[in-house]
C-alpha cells in the first residue's frame, strides 16, 4: 500500500532532492541510498570490513609476511606450529602454520585473494549470461523465450552447488590429469553457470514490462533498431535489481567456491583458497590443531557476513520487487 493511499502525503521525494541538478557526487551523498547507508552502523561496519578484506586480498603479495606458493621456502620443521601467542608458537608465524609449514596468515591473505577473484568473476559471468539471455527472451519473445525459459526451469531443478559440482566433474573428466592451472577457470565457469537463471528471469520479467512502455514505443517510432533500444533504454532499467542480486550472489559464490574447494574439487592444495585451507585443517582437528581451521573459517564467515549485510541493505534501500 502506498503512502498516498494511506492518506499520507507523498514523502518519497523530499523537496531538498528536487533542487536544481547538481553534480553526481553531491546527488549521491544527498540520496536516500547514502542516507540509509549512514543510518545503520552495522552496514557501515560491513562496508568497512569488506573494503579492508578486499584491500588486504589485493595487496597480499605486498603485505603477506611469507609466500605460501613458494614451495622451496617451506620447511617441514615449521609445520603444525600454533599461533605466536600460544605456548610453542613462533613469532615468525603470527597465526601459526599448517601441516606443510606454511604461514597461516599469509595463506589466508592469498586464499582470500583467490576466493574473491573467483567469486567476482563467476558473478560477472552469471550476470553476463543471465542478463543477455533475459533481455533476448523478454524482448524478442517467441521461440527464443520458450527455449531459454525451459532451460531455466530445468536448471532450477538443481541447486547451484550441484550444478557447479556437475560441471566441475565433467571438466575433471574431460581434462583428466591435464588440468594444470585450469582449476581457477573451471571454478569460475562452474559457479558462473550455476547462478545465471535468477538474472535471466528477473531481467526477462522487467523487459516485458519496459518494452510496452511509451518511451520504448516512441524510440521505435523514431526508427531506433531493436538492439539499440534494448541496450540504450531497457538495460539501464534492469540494472538496480541486477546489482542487488549480484551482491547477494557474491556472498553465495564465495560460499560455493569454498564448498567446492572443501569437497576437494576446487583449487589444489598448492594454491590454497579458504575452502582448501579448511579442508586441510579439518584433518588435523582431532589432533588439537584448531588454528588451521579456525582462522580461515573465521575469515570466510566474516567476509560472507559482511557481503550479505551489504546485499540486504542494498535490497532494502533500492527495494525492487525481489524475492
Amino acid at each position: 500500500m502506498s503512502s498516498e493511499e494511506q492518506g499520507l502525503p507523498a514523502l518519497e521525494v523530499p523537496p531538498s532532492t528536487r533542487a536544481a541538478p547538481r553534480g553526481l557526487p553531491a546527488r549521491f551523498f544527498d540520496s536516500d541510498l547514502w542516507y540509509s547507508f549512514r543510518s545503520s552502523r552495522l552496514v557501515v561496519l560491513a562496508g568497512i570490513v569488506t573494503l579492508l578484506m578486499v584491500g588486504a586480498a589485493l595487496l597480499a603479495p605486498l603485505i603477506a609476511p611469507h609466500d605460501p606458493y613458494d614451495l622451496r621456502a617451506l620447511n617441514l620443521m615449521d609445520s603444525d606450529l600454533p599461533p605466536a601467542w600460544v605456548q610453542g608458537g613462533d613469532p615468525r608465524f603470527l597465526l601459526g602454520t599448517d601441516d606443510q609449514g606454511r604461514d597461516i596468515l599469509s595463506t589466508i591473505l592469498y586464499g582470500t585473494r583467490s576466493s574473491i577473484a573467483i567469486s567476482v568473476l563467476a558473478v560477472l559471468l552469471a550476470i553476463g549470461i543471465g542478463v543477455s539471455l533475459g533481455l533476448v527472451a523478454g524482448y524478442f519473445g517467441g521461440i527464443a523465450d520458450t527455449i531459454i525459459m525451459r532451460i531455466a526451469d530445468v536448471k532450477l531443478t538443481f541447486p547451484a552447488i550441484l550444478v557447479a559440482l556437475l560441471i566441475n566433474g565433467i571438466a575433471q573428466t574431460l581434462f583428466r590429469g591435464r588440468l594444470g592451472g585450469a582449476e581457477f577457470w573451471i571454478l569460475v565457469l562452474s559457479i558462473g553457470l550455476s547462478f545465471w537463471v535468477q538474472y535471466a528471469r528477473t531481467v526477462r520479467g522487467m523487459t516485458l514490462v519496459e518494452k510496452n512502455k511509451e518511451y520504448v514505443q516512441a524510440a521505435r517510432l523514431i526508427g531506433m533498431s531493436r538492439t539499440a533500444i534494448m541496450f540504450k533504454h531497457v538495460l539501464p532499467n534492469v540494472l538496480s535489481p541486477v546489482l542487488v542480486i549480484g551482491t547477494i550472489n557474491l556472498a553465495l559464490a564465495i560460499i560455493t567456491e569454498a564448498t567446492l574447494s572443501f569437497l576437494g574439487v576446487g583449487l589444489p592444495p598448492t594454491e590454497p583458497s579458504l575452502g582448501t585451507m579448511i579442508q586441510i585443517g579439518n584433518k588435523y582437528l582431532f589432533s588439537g590443531s584448531w588454528w588451521m581451521v579456525a582462522f580461515p573459517g573465521v575469515t570466510l564467515a566474516v567476509l560472507v557476513l559482511a557481503v550479505n549485510l551489504l546485499g540486504d541493505w542494498l535490497r532494502d534501500a533500492l527495494n525492487p520487487k525481489l524475492r
Binding site: 538443481f158 550441484l162 556437475l166 572443501f262 574439487v265 582437528l285 560472507v304
Partner: protein, 325 residues
C-alpha cells in the same frame, strides 16, 4: 482441476526428459565408456566387440531411447569405480540420505516457521532481533564450517556425540534405519542440525518477510478494525495467507536439502548418496553421476507436483481457476 493436473504432469515429463537427455549426453559423450570399463591391456578387437555388445555403435537416437527405457526400468548401468550396478549402490545409500534429509527438513520447518512468525509479529522485540542476527549468521556460515564447528565442540571438546558415520543401523527388508537405535539417533543429531540450519534460516526469513507483507494487507487491517483478537488476526487470518507461498519454497528447498546433503555427508562421512556422488565426481564415475542427477531431478519434480496439488487444496482461488503461471 483434471486439466490442471494433466498440464502439470506434462510439464513435469518435459523437465524429466530434458534432464534425461543431459544425463545421457553426460553418460555417453563425456569420456569414453569403454576406456573406463576395460583395462590397459585390452585389445582393440576386444574393445570393438564390447562396443558392439553394449550397443554403442547404434544410432544416437536409438541409444537415447535405450537409455530412457533402462532408466524407466531403474537400470543405470555399472559403476566404473566399484564395478557394481549403480542401482544397487543407490539402494544401499538411499535410506541414509533419506533419513538425514527428512530429519533436517523437519528441524528446519518446525523451528523456522515459529521463529519466522514470531519475528514477523513482534518486529521490534529483542528476541526477534536475536533470531534475525542468528539467522543472518546462519546464512553466512557455509554448511561445512557449521559441521566442523559442531564436531569440534560436541565430538572433540565435549565428546558427547559421534563425529562420523550412522552409528548402529537396523535392517528392515531392503531398508536400513538408524532411527531405532540409541547410537543411530545420536549419530543423526549433528548431521541433521548441520544440514537443517541453513534451511531453517531460509524458512525463518521467508516466513517473516511473507508475514510482514500479509500483515500490511487491507484484509488484516479490516480484521483488526472488526475487533478480532490478536490471536485470531495473527494465527487465523495472517498465518494461512503467509504459509501458501511458503509451502512452495519449502517444497523447492526439500530438493535442495538432498543436494546439500552432499556437503554434510562429506563432513560427517555419512554413508549416503551425497558421499557416493562426491566420490563419483572425484573419480569421474559417470554412470553414478548421471543416475544421481536423474534421481535428484525426479525427486524434485515429484515434490513440485505434490506442492502444486497441495496449493489447489489450500487456496480456494486456485481451486476454481487453476493456478496462474
Amino acid at each position: 482441476m483434471l486439466a490442471f493436473t494433466i498440464r502439470r504432469l506434462l510439464e513435469a515429463a518435459v523437465v524429466m526428459l530434458t534432464v534425461a537427455l543431459l544425463a545421457f549426453v553426460l553418460f555417453r559423450f563425456v569420456g569414453d565408456p569403454i576406456n573406463q570399463m576395460v583395462g590397459q591391456d585390452t585389445s582393440i578387437a576386444e574393445r570393438e566387440e564390447l562396443r558392439q555388445r553394449l550397443g554403442l555403435n547404434d544410432p544416437v537416437l536409438v541409444q537415447f531411447g535405450r537409455f530412457i527405457w533402462n532408466a524407466a526400468r531403474y537400470d543405470f548401468g555399472i559403476s566404473y569405480q566399484v564395478k557394481r550396478p549403480v542401482t544397487s549402490l543407490i539402494a544401499e545409500r538411499f535410506p541414509a540420505t533419506f533419513e538425514l534429509a527428512l530429519t533436517a527438513a523437519l528441524f528446519a520447518v518446525l523451528l523456522g516457521i515459529p521463529m519466522g512468525v514470531y519475528t514477523g509479529i513482534h518486529r521490534d522485540s529483542w528476541l526477534s532481533k536475536l533470531f534475525l542476527s542468528v539467522s543472518l549468521v546462519g546464512i553466512s556460515l557455509p554448511t561445512f564450517l557449521i559441521g566442523i564447528l559442531l564436531i569440534y565442540v560436541f565430538a572433540v571438546q565435549l565428546g558427547v556425540l559421534p563425529s562420523f558415520g550412522r552409528g548402529e543401523v537396523v535392517r528392515i527388508g531392503g531398508w536400513t534405519t538408524g532411527l531405532l537405535t540409541a547410537s543411530g539417533l545420536k549419530a543423526l543429531i549433528l548431521p541433521a542440525i548441520t544440514l537443517g540450519l541453513f534451511q531453517m534460516t531460509l524458512v525463518t526469513r521467508l516466513v517473516r518477510s511473507q508475514m510482514l507483507e500479509v500483515l500490511r494487507t487491507d484484509y488484516i487491517k479490516f480484521a483488526r478494525a472488526r475487533g478480532l483478537s490478536d490471536r485470531a488476526v495473527n494465527f487465523g487470518h495472517a498465518l494461512k495467507n503467509t504459509l501458501i507461498p511458503v509451502i512452495t519454497i519449502i517444497g523447492l528447498q526439500l530438493g535442495a536439502i538432498i543436494a546439500f546433503a552432499i556437503i554434510t555427508e562429506t563432513v560427517f562421512q555419512w554413508p549416503g548418496m551425497g558421499l557416493m556422488f562426491i566420490q563419483a565426481v572425484q573419480n569421474a564415475d559417470i554412470p553414478v553421476m548421471s543416475a544421481y542427477l536423474l534421481l535428484v531431478a525426479f525427486l524434485f519434480v515429484l515434490i513440485n507436483l505434490i506442492v502444486d496439488l497441495l496449493y489447489v487444496w489450500i487456496d480456494p482461488r486456485v481451486r476454481i481457476y487453476g493456478r496462474e503461471a
